[in-house]
Structure formats: structure tokens, C-alpha cells
Amino acid sequence: MRSDRLDEAPGQDLPRLSVPPVLEVDGLTVDFPSPHGGKRVVDGISYSIARGRTLGVVGESGCGKSMTALALLGLVPSSGRMTGRITLNGRSLSDLSAKDWPDVRGQRIALVFQEPMTALNPAMRIGDQIAEVLTIHEGLRKTEARERAIEQLRLVGIPSAAERAKAYPHQLSGGMRQRAVIAMALACRPDVLIADEPTTALDVTIQAQILELMQQLQDEIGMAVQFISHNLAVVSEIADDVIVMYAGQIVERASSADLFAEPLHPYTQGLIETLPEIGRAQDELPVIAGTVPSHYHDIPGCRFAGRCPKADASCRAVAPALRPVRLGREVACHKVS
């Protein structure tokens, strides 16, 4: 290895503090105003991801995970309002006008959705859908773009790629479709890939294949990945760092190893304990009582207090801030010292 790269050579195994993050999110908030008071779905979250790293985002449905993903691409529905700062490679995205957003989407920052069946245009050939990204962003001509699309399909391990490029989405299996979606997302070698529950709709053996593929492509391309999932086990296997979201806020942040070895926030603890586990016979699973509240932005105090076994009066009165508790760990809970 050449050692003239000061930021890499000595720090290979240390946390990559010296590497500037590719994506920085600061105080991201998404509101859906309405005459009846509206709803704040994402409430001031901040995080960053470095090149080649994977950030896992976990939480139950309705906690704001998916809206965060849409906000990063400027795709918040027109009835919503986004505030806060998003910075990609030092360039601010949050100030982009509606006219400039399309140049970034699919080019520097790309998205993979949950449902590979519905995420692809049913009336368009797979190859054309991938080629479209290249014609839009790289100005390639049709034949060139088609060639590149076939290369992309090869890259994601689709056999007889030239033939499959002519297929329509319904002619492929679920796993192949998700590979095609990934091929499309990575066509322009983006800096950031946002994967929103990319394996949730897939069978376990296919899920394992897709996770393997994503890791392998990340090693090759080096993009930062934001991996959103409700499946903690999947996140534990793919993420370097994890943020846990509850009711629109981050309640815990840690490296994946630390978080799953010793979760600190009662919500994280509950999420992990409540999972059935192969090899551990139990009569009854520990549960998190209740459900995620649907309107949460006006709850005074800690939003999890209503479901928390440790909550007391102070939890219900004062909202805990996300604060560092140990090296590299942050928790939003009064009960963690």
C-alpha cells in the first residue's frame, strides 16, 4: 500500500474519524401542516455517513424511517415541508430548487425500495429502465446506454444479462427484480445509496443473496449506504453503525457491535429482547407494551414513556436529549447514566 495518503495509511483499523463524511444530515425535520395542527413525522434528526460505511436505521413502522429516506432525495410529498440541512460531499442539497434536484437523484444519491415488483415500471423492459438513468445523467445515446445497462445487470449477478435486459419486470423472480433495481440505483456509481427495507419482501435465501451482493458492491464502488430496516438481525449483519428511531427522533446511536452487545435505550432493549431466537426456548416472549403513537410531535416529555417500563414522572415531563454517554455512543434517555 502506498503510504503517501496520510488520512488512510495509519488509520486503517481506527474509527475513521479523519475521513470526512459523504453525507451529513443536520436537524432534518419533515412536517405535514394541516388546519388541525398538522403532524411532524421526522423531528430534527442529525447523522452522517462516511465513504464505504453502512449506517443502519431501525425502528417500527411509523417512526419516520422511510420519510427520512424520501427527504434525502427531495421527494417529500408536496403536502409536506422539509427543513434542516443535508450536505452531500460538502454541497448543500437542502437549498436545491425543484429544478436542480433531478440532477442529483440517481446520480450522486440513489434509492432502493422495498417492493421490487412495484418499484419497476411494468410496461418497460428492464434494460431500458437501467439505460434511462444513463441517458438522463450521462447523456449517453440509446445503444451505448443499453450496452452499459447489460454490464450493470452482469455486475449484480444476473445470468444471461443481455437476454434478461429485454425482459419485463413480471418475467423475473423477486430476487432478480431486486438485483435489477440495485443495478439501476448503482448505474451512475452514486456516493450514497439509500436502501429502504430492500430485503423485506424477499425470502430468506434470496435475502441472504441480496445482502451479500450489496456488501460486495459496496466494497467495489465504495458508496456510503444508509440501510433502513425493521429487521434488527439483518441490520446487525450489514451495518457498521446503527441509529434507532422512535416517533420521529433518534433515541440511540452506536456502532453495530456495541448496540447489539449492550443496548442502552429501553426501546432498543425491548426491540432486541422481544425477538424470538432460534435455540432459545421461551414460554413467553418479553413484549413492548402498546403501539407507536400515531401523533407524536406534541407528546410532552419522552415519547417512549407511555410504553417504557422504567418511565417515571420526570420522563413524562421533560424530553430527554440525545447525548453522548460513552465513547462513540449516544442515548436519549434520562435513565441511562
Binding site: L73, L75, P102, D103, V104, R105, G106, Q107, A110, L111, F113, E115, T118, A119, L120, N121, P122, A123, M124, E132, V133, I136, H137, Y168, H170, V181, M184
Partner: protein, 317 residues
């Protein structure tokens, strides 16, 4: 594909056969026959004359035998005579069918283009200003009675302004294309206004539904701009359901343009069937109805083929 077409044509033949039997049977069950009509109009005829005539025309035979004779003749291309016009039915139906086809095709082409354009434009911002205006006129078009609409158009464009002929089908040897087309302008406009409202509403809701789908979000996440998202991604998918409706409209319009045809004195298929039924011209009514049925079935077949062409998930095998 060939097999599919053969299967569909075979099915259409079956429907036509069943239809001819039902209509023939219904007419046969009606009290009175053509000879009774002749007796009524000619007091000098005796009962014996009538029976002789019945035997001559085969009307004394049981219904099923008469139907069989009619059917074998029809299959060899002989569709019989019209009683009122005393001419082969095909000679009456041919020009009527041509007239109606011109009317309906123009209506469908103009109406479909207009509805899809308006529907798409309205769907881009549901409840927006443009959508509100389009919705208002759509509902107005749906609610206006056709005869009233036709009257207003005649009053304004033929009587008041004198731009267009009020009625008729034009000279039999038109000197220019415009000479024959100008007679179609008002009837086509009437039909377009009457039909475009419903189709626009349909195109709009189909488009709104499509624009909500995941693959639209994917297209935007790819960096596609709005125009591309709408025309390249959403429209082809939204069209699939629209063409089905257009195909169905085709059939309805063919035989259902009666009011318009009457108002503008166009001898089309609808008017021919109507007159034939009222005038007890049974054979003409029967054959004209069969042609209308055939055209309707053909419209549906074309719609299905268009559907399969637009939506690769539908296979015609």
C-alpha cells in the same frame, strides 16, 4: 398470437350465431307477420291469398326451420331483402355502416386524444385550478342531453353563423374532401362533447392512480424530470384501462348514436335499426343488428389487442 386471434374470431362467430338466433326467435314470437301487414294494407286480399303467400315465403313452416333456412342463406352471403325498401338488406346497410363508421371513428379519435390530454393535465395537480375547470366541463358534458346540445350547435353554427350545414350527409359526389367533411363537423362535435366528459374523468382517475404507484417514485428517484415521469412512465400504464373503455364506447356509439343521427338527418346504423324496427322491416332490423353486434365485438377485440400491446403482463396466447 395467431392462435389467440383464431380463438377470438371463433368466439365472435359463436356470439353472432347465438345473437342471430335470439333476435330471429324474438321477431318470430311477435304477434303478426309480414303477410298480416299486407292483409291490413290491402283489404282485397282473402284469407286464402294470405295462406298461399305464407306458403310461398315459407312462413307456414316452424320457426326453427325458417331460422335454419335464413341462416344457411346468410352464410352463403344472401342476407335477404328489406321489406320497406324492396332492396337487398346489404345495399341499405352498407352505406349506413360507412356513414356511421366515419362518424364514430372521427368521434373516437378526436374524443380520445382530447380526453387523454385533458385527463393527464388535470391529474398532475388533482384539485388544482386546471383540474377544477376540467372537472366542471366534464360534468357539464356528461349531463347535457344530446338532443339539446345538437340543437344549440345547429342554432349557433348553422342558423346564426351559417358556417356549417345544419343537417344531411352532403352531396353524393363531393367536389372536395372538405365538402364531405363539413357535414360531419356538427354531428361529430355533438358526439365528442357528449362523450369526452366521461372519458376525461376516467383518464384523470386512471392517471392519478398510476402517479401514486411505487415505480413513479422510482422514476423520480432516478432523476427523471416531471415531463418524462408523466409521459414516459405514467401515461403508458394509465392508458391500459382507458383503451378498454374506448373499445367499449366504440360499440355503444355504433348503434347508439341514434339521437345524433336523427338530429342531423344522417342515415347511420342506429337510425336504420330504429326505422326498421318501427317499420316492421324485420329482416333489415335483424341484419343491421347483427352488423352492429359484429362491430361491437370487433371494437372489444381491438381494445384487448391494444391492452396487450400496452401492458406486457397481458399475453395474447
Amino acid at each position: 398470437m395467431t392462435l389467440y386471434l383464431l380463438r377470438r374470431l371463433f368466439g365472435m362467430a359463436l356470439v353472432l350465431l347465438a345473437m342471430s338466433f335470439v333476435v330471429y326467435g324474438l321477431i318470430g314470437l311477435m304477434p303478426g307477420d309480414p303477410i298480416d301487414l299486407m292483409v291490413m294494407s290491402n283489404p282485397g286480399m282473402t284469407a286464402a291469398d294470405a295462406d298461399r303467400l305464407r306458403a310461398l315465403h315459407g312462413l307456414d313452416q316452424p320457426l326453427i326451420i325458417r331460422y335454419w333456412r335464413w341462416l344457411t342463406a346468410a352464410l352463403s352471403g344472401d342476407f335477404g331483402f328489406s321489406r320497406v325498401y324492396a332492396r337487398p338488406t346489404l345495399e341499405i346497410i352498407g352505406p349506413a355502416l360507412w356513414q356511421t363508421t366515419k362518424l364514430v371513428s372521427l368521434t373516437l379519435v378526436i374524443g380520445s386524444l382530447l380526453s387523454v390530454l385533458l385527463g393527464v393535465a388535470a391529474a398532475i395537480r388533482p384539485r388544482g385550478k386546471f383540474d377544477t375547470i376540467v372537472s366542471f366541463f366534464s360534468f357539464a358534458g356528461i349531463s347535457l342531453p344530446t338532443f339539446w346540445l345538437a340543437l344549440i350547435l345547429i342554432l349557433v353554427f348553422a342558423v346564426r353563423l351559417g358556417w356549417l350545414p345544419a343537417s344531411g350527409m352532403g352531396p353524393s359526389d363531393p367536389s372536395s374532401l372538405w365538402d364531405s367533411l363539413r357535414y360531419l363537423v356538427l354531428p361529430v362535435s355533438t358526439l365528442v362533447i357528449a362523450n369526452v366528459g366521461g372519458l376525461t374523468r376516467f383518464a384523470r382517475s386512471s392517471m392519478i392512480e398510476t402517479l401514486r404507484m411505487d415505480f413513479i417514485r422510482t422514476a423520480r428517484a432516478k432523476g427523471a424530470r416531471s415531463a418524462r415521469v408523466v409521459w414516459r412512465h405514467a401515461l403508458p400504464n394509465a392508458l391500459t384501462s382507458v383503451v378498454t373503455i374506448i373499445g367499449l364506447n366504440f360499440g355503444t356509439l355504433l348503434s347508439g348514436a341514434l339521437v345524433t343521427e336523427t338530429m342531423f338527418a344522417q342515415r347511420g346504423l342506429g337510425k336504420t335499426i330504429y326505422d326498421a324496427v318501427l317499420g316492421n322491416d324485420f329482416n333489415l332490423a335483424l341484419v343491421a343488428l347483427l352488423f352492429a353486434t359484429f362491430a361491437t365485438l370487433l371494437g372489444n377485440l381491438l381494445a384487448d389487442l391494444a391492452y396487450a400491446w400496452l401492458d406486457p403482463r397481458v399475453s395474447v396466447t
